[in-house]
């Protein structure tokens, strides 16, 4: 084997662990290079979105289902954490996991009946759920604070006695979380559960013929993605210490879907790119505030038209095809 081939072989065997290691190095060194709180804050926001996109990607990308309501689970996580810590005086960490468990149960309750449905029914059910949650947040002002946002002081998370109250500390916390969840997703995707989900996305009937309990598989992954969104919500409320309903409208859900599509349906690393691009875009396009919607829409439409399986995945496929062609027909190259 030539050295190049050897490297390639090593990469195919250990690609995931290598990328994870590279990713870990990137996370650890970023605050050393960049200590501007504004950029770190932005990157923390990206991280929170990445967590949701990871979960949503499992559901949309791998299992091939539609959810237009993940902002609702995000909201439940954020408000759940805030209410448990402020009104009930529970410590942030337990509050976060209790909330996540509760949100998972809510997702189960919603998923069990609705996930028998497919396509547009599912889109509508999740969308409807999001609107219900949003309106309750807006109207039930005794508990949620209504349109002005949550009343009461949300305390920051702390590790040991160290409160995570600066951008840098929070950076390590939230990106560390992303790291763990990415590792989890990468393993999940290659486990039996992940494989059965991929089969389900390709052909539901074939999957059930092969012995996949399609209904149960969908509900489980739906609940898991809701738990991800809830964790992100809790992190959000403990990071920004202020929440209001506008963050959790259906347009937010659609933004999450755009992030998944940009990153690539069914690509764990793509989600990182998608969330990064869509979160930073409004900041980059500050001058073009008026065109923001149009640009978002155009990105979505163009990517779907030219790379229906998502941008990053689409580009990778293109590159792989080209390389395979080159290998087969060296004369043409």
């Amino acid at each position: 084997m030539s050295p190049a081939e050897r490297i390639r072989f090593f990469w195919t065997r250990h690609g995931n662990s290598c990328s994870l290691a590279l990713f870990l190095i990137a996370i650890l060194t970023l605050p050393l290079i960049q200590d501007n709180p504004y950029y770190l804050g932005l990157s923390n926001q990206v991280a929170i979105n990445v967590i949701i996109v990871l979960g949503l990607n499992l559901f949309v990308g791998y299992a091939g289902q539609i959810s237009l309501g993940h902002a609702a689970f995000f909201a439940l996580g954020a408000y759940g954490s805030a209410i448990l810590t402020v009104n009930f005086g529970i410590w942030p960490w337990p509050a976060m996991f209790v909330t996540a468990a509760l949100v998972g149960l809510v997702a189960l309750a919603i998923g069990l009946p609705t996930l028998r449905l497919s396509g547009h029914y599912l889109a509508m059910a999740t969308l409807g759920f999001n609107i219900v949650v949003y309106t309750v947040l807006l109207q039930w002002d005794k508990v949620t604070g209504g349109p002005d946002g949550f009343i009461g002081i949300i305390e920051p998370l702390s590790v040991g006695t160290l409160p995570m109250d600066t951008e840098i500390r929070f950076h390590y916390l939230v990106w560390g979380m992303v790291f763990v969840l990415i590792a989890l997703c990468l393993n999940l995707v290659r486990s039996g559960v992940g494989r059965s989900l991929a089969t389900l996305a390709a052909d539901e009937r074939a999957a059930s013929a092969l012995g996949v309990n399609t209904g149960l598989a969908k509900v489980k992954i739906f609940a898991l993605s809701a738990v991800f969104a809830s964790l992100a919500g809790s992190l959000y409320s403990h990071c920004f210490l202020f929440i209001n309903p506008d963050t959790f409208s259906i347009f937010r859900s659609i933004d999450f879907v755009i992030m998944v599509v940009v990153g690539g349906l069914g690509s764990v690393w793509g989600g990182l790119f998608g969330a990064g691009l869509i979160t930073c875009l409004p900041e980059l396009l500050d001058a073009f505030e008026a065109y923001k919607d149009i640009i978002h829409g155009l990105i979505l439409v163009l990517i779907l038209l030219f790379f229906p399986q998502g941008f990053v995945t689409g580009l990778m496929d293109l590159w792989r095809t080209r390389r395979a062609l080159k290998k087969q027909m060296p004369d043409n190259a």
Partner: protein
């Protein structure tokens, strides 16, 4: 009585929008989220014709409906037809993308302010059996009924209606017998646009107009369509009317704060119990 009338009026609007969703779903098998913006667009074009350029109201109505229909056909032609995928997921997300673009463009052209749209004839309320009705409500009911009758006639007695039913029944068979299915799909989009546009013209005098007025209305129309059984025209009308009635009654007797939620709670319950809807097979 007052609540029932109010409910029927908003129900009629939901029914119009629901019909638009059904027409597209039947020929293309997708949820067309752009329908939502056809409603706002109808109101916008009507406003432009009547208020900004001073055309008579009848011209405004016809012009706005035709305008939305043309734009809808363009949406199909430019965005959905070139899609290299017949994956439902991709097509539905595409319509969401187009919908975002449409809202952005409308925001650019007409701004973010709310506009007052003139009603079709006067604002003098009429008293009838202990209820007060705005003339606009009568227009809404009448024009919705007319639109439904025209729609039935179109599907029963014209060749384009027959072609649409053919594509709905079996796309491939329709292609084999030589139907231009692409054109039929564009037509169905135009039809959906016209229905949405009409709904927009009729409802915006009651709600005031801005670029995203259609979102909630449209989604409720979609809820109505599913409530009635997605794809069935009778179902869409019944679902829309039922939704309007229930919404108005809850707002009247319980609390108006949660009025917007009613539609979706009912919808979720229906999906749990009988996902095929009232008229679904």
């Amino acid at each position: 009585m007052q609540f029932i009338l109010g409910g029927l009026t908003s129900g009629a609007i939901y029914a119009l929008i629901a019909l638009g969703f059904c027409v597209v779903n039947n020929t293309m098998g997708i949820v067309n989220f752009v329908q939502v913006d056809f409603v706002s667009l109808g109101g916008m074009l009507f406003y432009t014709c009547v208020v900004m350029y001073g055309f008579p109201i009848s011209v405004g109505v016809v012009g706005a409906v035709a305008g939305v229909a043309v734009i809808a056909a363009l949406v199909e032609l430019l965005a959905l037809r070139p899609a290299r995928s017949d994956n439902q997921l991709v097509l539905i997300f595409l319509t969401i993308g187009v919908s975002i673009i449409m809202r952005g463009v409308m925001k650019l052209i007409w701004g973010e302010n709310r506009m007052a749209v003139p009603s079709l004839s006067g604002d003098e309320p009429i008293h009838l059996m202990g209820a007060t009705i705005m003339p606009q409500a009568i227009w809404i009911l009448a024009l919705t009924a007319l639109a439904i009758i025209l729609l039935i006639a179109l599907f029963r007695y014209t060749s384009i209606g027959l072609a649409m039913r053919g594509v709905a029944a079996n796309n491939r068979a329709a292609k084999i017998i030589g139907l231009n299915t692409g054109r039929v799909k564009s037509m169905s989009f135009a039809l959906a646009g016209a229905l949405g546009g009409l709904a927009g013209i009729l409802v915006t005098p009651l709600t005031t107009l801005n670029y995203d007025v259609g979102v909630l209305l449209g989604l409720k129309g979609f809820a109505g369509a599913i409530l009635g059984g997605f794809g069935s025209f009778t179902g869409a009308v019944i679902g829309g009317l039922a939704l309007g009635l229930m919404e108005s009654l809850t707002a009247g007797y319980f609390s108006s704060a949660y009025k917007d939620v009613v539609a979706f709670v009912i919808l979720l319950i229906v999906l749990f119990i009988r996902p095929k809807g009232i008229m679904g097979r």
